[in-house]
Symmetry: D2
Subunit: 341 residues, 4 copies
C-alpha cells in the first residue's frame, strides 16, 4: 500500500552498517533493499537480517538494479568517482558519504557530469548541516538578529584516531567538516587556507602534526580559525562561535544532558564520539533525503542538503590545506567559477 | 515486502494529528491505516492526505477492523475506558494517551481486565520516560553513581493554559507528569499528597489556584516537591533535581541550543511548549512502541514503557491531590496492592 | 593622620580569628585594637601578632574600654545577650555574629533595649545579604523586572557537620540563613513553618534528621521551601530560586571559576565550605559596617545591614521550626508586632 | 599606632581617581597621602576630599617627598619613563599602570636602571593576573592536572572605544593584555606575532581595523590566537581557553551572577566595562602590592606581580604587532636576552 523507497547501501563497514540499521529502524518511507560490500560475505550476512533485503556482489549491478530506487554510498573514497558516475548514468539519486571524490579534478568531473544531466541527483553527507545546533545557529544568522558575521572560531577535538591517521588526513577527514560548516554558515567560498603547526601533543603518534590550526579567508574577507586536535584523550568535542556585527553566538558548549554534583565538583559528560554527538544529525539527514528523493520526480531535484558542488568546494579547500600543511604558508584555493559549470 | 504495522489513530485533534504526522513521516515499520474522530469529516479529510489510509466513523469499528494491527488512543479521557476494554477484547495492542481513564475505579477495572487476559497490551503515554534527559537521569540513578535518592525537586511551568483550565486540572493534567516522573525515578509508589496553595499569580484567570506546590511522600519515606505553575508567561520549563546520598543530579536546566550574546546580556531561548520540549520523546516513544508491538506476538508483551498499572497509580495519586487541593491537608493515596491484581 | 576605627573582637575561635585577619589585612579604616576570648592565652597569642593590639581578659572590660570604638561579637551564642546589653549601655556599635541571642525572649529584650536608646547600634551577621549574588538577586527583584515573587526555592547543602550537630541545630544554625534570605528577598515576615522529615541519609550520624525540608508561609501568602542537607559529602552548595509573576531568577548555580574538560567529562569545582563561598560577603559586610560606624555619629544609625529586629525575627521563626521538627505539623510563628516596640 | 603606607597617586584621571577611592575605602594598611595631576586643580579638589591628603603640583616633587612611601603611576604613558627613573632614583616602590613606557628602548632602559639598583621596585599594572578566574586557571595549569598547554584561544571584546582609538591602539592598549596573559599562563616568551585583518565591522569608525586577529608563537612552539574586537556594541567580554595535553580549561564564560528566565529566553547579564569585570582584580592587585611594599625593606623585593621585565616584553611584542598590522605578515619579536640584563 505504501511506497517505500528501496535503497541500496554500498559499503557496509561501520558507517554503512549504521545507515542500514538507521533506515531499517528509524526512517519512515524507506527500506534497505540491497546491500553491497567489497567483502561479499559481510553484505550477505547483513542482508539475511533485514526483511526483504538482498546482497548484490557488484556495486555497479546494485546501482543498476531495477528494484533499487536510490543509493547510499558508504564505500571508501577512492571508489566514489566511478560509483557516482554510474548513479548519474542510471538516474539514481545518491547520498554520498564524504568525500565526494578523493581529488579535486574528479570532484569537478562529477559536478560537470551531474550538471549535464539537468537533474540534481547527488547529495553529499556533510551531516552537521542537519544537527539541531548547527541548524539553529544558521537560522539565527539568517534571521539577521546578530548581524553580519565577521569572524568564526571552530574547535574540533577527537579523543583518538586510528593508527594509520596521518597529518594530511587531519585536513581531509577532520578539517573538511569545518570547511563545510564555514561555507554553510557564511554562504560564500573560502579563498585561502593556512595551516599552523604548533608544538605537537607528546602523546600523538610519532610524526602526526596534532593539533593543527587552520585559518580560512573568505571571498568577502571574513576570518575563520579552526583548531583541529584529534588525540586529546578527552572526548568528541565540536564547537563553533560566530562573532557578528550585532552580537555573537556559540554552539557546542553545553554538552551532556544531566548536570551532576559529586564530591568537590559539578559537571556533565561529553559525547565519546561523533556517533553520539551527531546521531540526531544523521537521522535527520537520511529522513530528509528520503523525503526529497520521494518528491524528486516532480521537480528533478532529489536532494535536500549539500550537493556535488559543495563536495567539490570542500575538496578544493582541503587540497590547499594539504599544500599549506607542507609549507606553513597561506595557500590560495583554486576553484573554477560556479557559473562556468 | 516489509510488514508495516497498521495503526488506527483514534482522535485526531492536536495530539492525535501530531501522531498521525509522526507515524507517517518519521516512524519506521508502521503506517496509519485508519483514522477516526468524533467529527467524522475531520478524520476523512486527514485520511485523504495519507496514502493507504481510511477513515472509520465508529471508534469500535476501527478497533475491531481486521486490517488494524494496533491502536493509538488520542480521544478525550472520558471515552478511554470503553475503548481500552474494546482493544483488550479484540487483542489489539494500544498506546493510550494519558489519562488511562478519568476515575480511579475505572482505571483499576482496566488494569484487572488486562491482567485477566494474560497479555500486556496497554501502554500509557507518559512520554517523559522517553525524553533523553529523563532517560539519562534514570540511568544515572540506576548506575548507583549518586547513591540512593532522598529528595526530588520538580518544577513544571507552562506559559499559558486554555481558558477552561481549572485548579483540579493543574493536578490531573500537569502534576500527573510529576507523579509519573517520581514513580519512574524512584521505583516506588507515592503514599501521600499535599497541595500547598500560595498567593496566586495576579494574571492567572479568576479562581485558578496557580501556582500550586505538591508534596509527595513515598513508600520508603522519600520526599518530593513539585512546583506547578501554568500561567508564567515565560515558556515551557520542566526541571527535575534528584538529591541522593552520594551526590545530586539535575536535568532541564540548559535549555536552548545556541548561546547568544547581545548588548548587555547572554543567554538562550526556552522551548515555547511541550511539543518542542518533548518532540524527541514522542518520536522515541512511538518508535519503541511500534517495535515492541512487532515483537509482541512472541512474548505476549506488546509494550515498551509505562503500562496500565502506571496509569492507575497516577490516577490514584491525582485523586488524592484533588482532595488535598480542597483541604490543604495531606491526603493518603488509596490504592490496591499490586499483588492483589 | 587617619582615624582608624578601633575594634574589639570578642571571641577569637575560627570565626573571630577570621575576622581579626580580615580587619587587619583587607579592611580600610579600621584595625583590631583589642581581642578577647574565654581562653585568655589564645587572645594574648593573637594580640601579639597584630601591631597595636591588646588582649583584655574580661569581655565587659573590652566593651567598656575607652580606646575601643566598636565591638565585633564572635563569642558563643549563650553569652550574646549580656554582651549586647553591655554594648548598648556603653553606646558601642556592635556587629553580632548570629544568633542575636539563643532565645526568642532574650532577643526581644535586646530589641527593646536598643529601641529605648534611640540609636541603632546592633547589626546582626547575616552575611548572605552582602554576597554579590544575593545582592544582585535582591536588586533584580526590587527593579520589578521579574514582577512580584510568588514562590522561593532554597537549597542549603554542607558536606559535613561537626560530631555534636543535632537535628535542632540544622534549624537554628543552617536553616536560619534561609529564614533571613526569605525575609530579605520578600521584605515581609514568615508566619508559619513546617519541617518535613524525609527518610534520612544513611551516612548521617545516628539520630540526625538529615535532610530536612522546611516550608515557610509569609504574611502575604507566599510559599518558600528550603532543603537543608548537611551531610551530603559533596561540597558547600547554596542555591536560591525566586519564581515571580513576570519571570524567575536563580543564583548559586554556576559554581567555580574555571570550566574544565577532562576525559569524558566537563565541569567545575564547588566551594568546599562557607568560608570560600561567602568570603567576599564577609569582606563586604565588615567594610560596610566599618564605614557605617564611622558615619554613625552624625545620624545615630551605626549599621548597614540587618539589625536586632532581624535577629529577633529569625529567632522566632527558628523556634517555630524546632517545634515543627518534633511534631511534623505546621507551626505558627509567634512574634510581637514591630510597631509595638 | 599602625604604620599605614603613604602613597602618592600620580595622575588622577578615571583610572587614578579609581585607585584613590580604592585605597581610601577598601585597602588595608595604606592611605593616599599625596595626589598629583597635570591639571593641578583636579588634584587639589580630590585631595580636599581625602583625610590627610595633600596635592603636590610637580610629579617629581611628589615622588621625592619624604612623606611618600610609595608611588602609584596613573599618568599618561609618555611620562612614565622619567617618572619611573625618578622613583628608582629615590628608592620609591612604584606600581605603574601599563604601559611601562611607550617605546621598547625606553622600557629596556628602565629595566636596566632597576637591575642596576639591586632592588625590585617596579610593578606593572597587568591586573588580570590578580583576577580570581585567571589566577585559578594559572593554578590549574601549574598543578599539572590538564598537562602541558599546547594552544591558547583568547577573545577580548569591548562594546565601544573612545573616538580617537586607532588600529595600532588596538594592539598596544587591548591586545597587550592578551600578551601578558599568554606570558603569564605559559611562562615563556612570545617569539613572533601576526595580525590578521578580517573584513571590518561596518559600525567601527572609518579607518579602524576592527576586529583584529593576533597569532602568537612562543619559544617552545606553542600557538596562541587572540580575537580583539573593540566595537562590538555588546559588553565587555574577556575569555581565555587553554588546550593542553590532558584536557582543556576555559574562563570568562559564565558571566553574570543571576540566571534569569523571561518570556522565551533565559540568561544573564555581561559586565559593561573592564571596571566591573576586573574590579576584584584591581582590589587584589593593590592590596597585595601594599603588603609587598610593607614587607620589601627586609627583602629588597617590593613587588608581588609582574615587574619591569614583563612591561618590556609586552612592549616588544606589541611593537612587532604594530609592524605586522601594516604588512599582515608574521613579525619576529626582537628582545634582548633576559640573562643579559
Amino acid at each position: 500500500m505504501s511506497n517505500e523507497l528501496r535503497i541500496a547501501v554500498l559499503g557496509v563497514g561501520m558507517m554503512g552498517a549504521d545507515h542500514v540499521a538507521r533506515i531499517t529502524n528509524k526512517i519512515a518511507g524507506a527500506r534497505v533493499a540491497v546491500v553491497n560490500d567489497f567483502f561479499a560475505e559481510k553484505a550477505e550476512e547483513l542482508a539475511a537480517t533485514i526483511p526483504g533485503c538482498r546482497a548484490i556482489a557488484d556495486p555497479f549491478d546494485a546501482i543498476a538494479d531495477p528494484e533499487v530506487d536510490a543509493v547510499l554510498l558508504a564505500t571508501p573514497g577512492p571508489t566514489h568517482e566511478k560509483q557516482l558516475l554510474a548513479c548519474l548514468e542510471h538516474g539514481k539519486p545518491v547520498l554520498c558519504e564524504k568525500p565526494l571524490t578523493t581529488e579535486v579534478e574528479t570532484s569537478l568531473a562529477v559536478v560537470k557530469a551531474e550538471a549535464a544531466l539537468g537533474k540534481t541527483l547527488i547529495q553529499v553527507g556533510f551531516m552537521r548541516r542537519f544537527d539541531n545546533e548547527y541548524a539553529e545557529l544558521k537560522s539565527l544568522i539568517d534571521s539577521g538578529d546578530i548581524g553580519r558575521p565577521l569572524v568564526v572560531h571552530c574547535a574540533h577535538r577527537n579523543p583518538t584516531v586510528p593508527p594509520n591517521f596521518d597529518s594530511a588526513m587531519i585536513v581531509k577527514d577532520s578539517l573538511v567538516h569545518e570547511v563545510d560548516v564555514t561555507r554553510f554558515l557564511l554562504d560564500e567560498e573560502i579563498t585561502s587556507v593556512q595551516i599552523i603547526k604548533p608544538s605537537a601533543n607528546a602523546s600523538a603518534p610519532e610524526g602526526l602534526q596534532d593539533p593543527q590550526i587552520a585559518l580560512f579567508a573568505t571571498e568577502s574577507g571574513r576570518h575563520v580559525d579552526a583548531e583541529v586536535f584529534v588525540t586529546t584523550g578527552v572526548a568528541y568535542e565540536v564547537r563553533t562561535e560566530v562573532v557578528a556585527e550585532l552580537g555573537s553566538a556559540m554552539i557546542g558548549l553545553d554538552v551532556g544532558l544531566v548536570r551532576k554534583s559529586k564530591p568537590g565538583t559539578w559537571g556533565g559528560t561529553i559525547t565519546p564520539s561523533f556517533k553520539e554527538r551527531f546521531g540526531q544529525a544523521y537521522d535527520t539527514e537520511i529522513q530528509r533525503w528520503v523525503n526529497a528523493v520521494q518528491a524528486g520526480a516532480e521537480t528533478g531535484n532529489y536532494i535536500d542538503g549539500p550537493g556535488a558542488w559543495d563536495g567539490y568546494a570542500a575538496a578544493a579547500v582541503c587540497a590547499a590545506g594539504v599544500k599549506s600543511l607542507e609549507t606553513g604558508e597561506r595557500v590560495a584555493v583554486e576553484m573554477v567559477a560556479r557559473s562556468s559549470i
